[in-house]
């Protein structure tokens, strides 16, 4: 009964690698089982569908990132650095797998989308907490924190995921972040380094 879990983790790892490098749509179940050296039936003994595999793979990814982010929140770092740290921990999705760059390929819309959704869902509360802290310390000044954080995250995802963003995009985004959170101009400049 323990061998089972191990096998599943193994399959998850293989699926993760393949989804990342070749894209979800371009990875067939046959590819996965061939790599794993198992039969179709075995695969479906562990996953009810290919999509469920994707779901679990994404769950894995996000879980890790959330853990890192959580540690940062409860650390003693100053607020801006907390934000920097969290944002960085969220981004590896790009540096980690740029070799293929298959992530936002047209055919990868589905995976990309699911990742974004789940990421937003888990990160918004975490970042909100930090913003709250920032308000207490006088960095920020605003209401509706989760809503604001979410919108910032949305723009960030949508804008900086692609390769086509410009320096102007970054400037506008910083301006937006400062204004949306009620921070003094220039306070959020540190974001520039994170993105570029």
């Amino acid at each position: 009964m323990k061998k089972g879990e191990k096998r599943k983790q193994e399959l998850l790892k293989i699926a993760y690698r393949m989804f990342i490098s070749r894209g979800y749509e371009n990875t067939s179940v046959d590819d996965i089982i061939e790599e794993a050296g198992i039969a179709k039936g075995t695969y479906y003994y562990y996953f009810k569908s290919k999509e469920q595999t994707l779901e679990e793979v994404i769950g894995m990814m996000i879980e890790q990132e959330a853990e890192t982010a959580g540690k940062i929140v409860s650390s003693a770092l100053p607020v801006p650095q907390k934000i920097a740290g969290i944002v960085s921990s969220i981004r590896p999705s790009k540096e980690e797998l740029p070799i293929e760059g298959a992530l936002m390929r047209p055919e990868n819309i589905i995976m990309h989308n699911k990742i974004r959704r789940k990421l937003t869902e888990t990160v918004v509360p975490i970042l909100s907490e930090v913003v709250e802290e920032g308000i207490r310390e006088g960095f920020f000044s605003c209401d509706c924190i989760p809503e604001r954080v979410r919108m910032l995250l949305t723009v960030s995802n949508e804008t900086f995921d692609e390769e086509n963003f410009t320096e102007r995009d970054i400037s506008v985004f910083i301006d937006m972040a400062e204004k949306l959170l009620g921070a003094k101009p220039g306070t959020m400049e540190f974001i520039r380094e994170l993105i570029r």
Copy 2:
């Protein structure tokens, strides 16, 4: 040689209807050809792939909306009403086909995404023009107009497409729009009616 164009339009119309009502993924080429009463080969005589059909269907949709928006821009309406008009002309995608509401179903991510992309691409320049006009008239005050417009559009799409948005989301969005474009507080309140 003219019959061809006609057939293609007919197929496009059928595909449009089916993609909208049942979703792109849930519509098979066989469904389309059955509805059209033609053979597989005929379909592929007009489209190189199912995806190309989707592309053309989306092109059709956006073209119409862009036309309407264009007329509004060159009208004599005051700036806020131009914006309102354009935003409305963009939104029918929701009122037009809510019966099934299949648009943002998990399985429709692909279509939804392509629509959003293309829509943003075509609407950003149009709205930017209006904002420019608004600056001249003292409504707004900002630089990097296309970037700002794009981000606003991004947030709007992502936030108000779903059904789960709250009144607070709207308020924050309005606040954001005003601050991003350098408008006086309250100026953009009219957005509230458009969305709700």
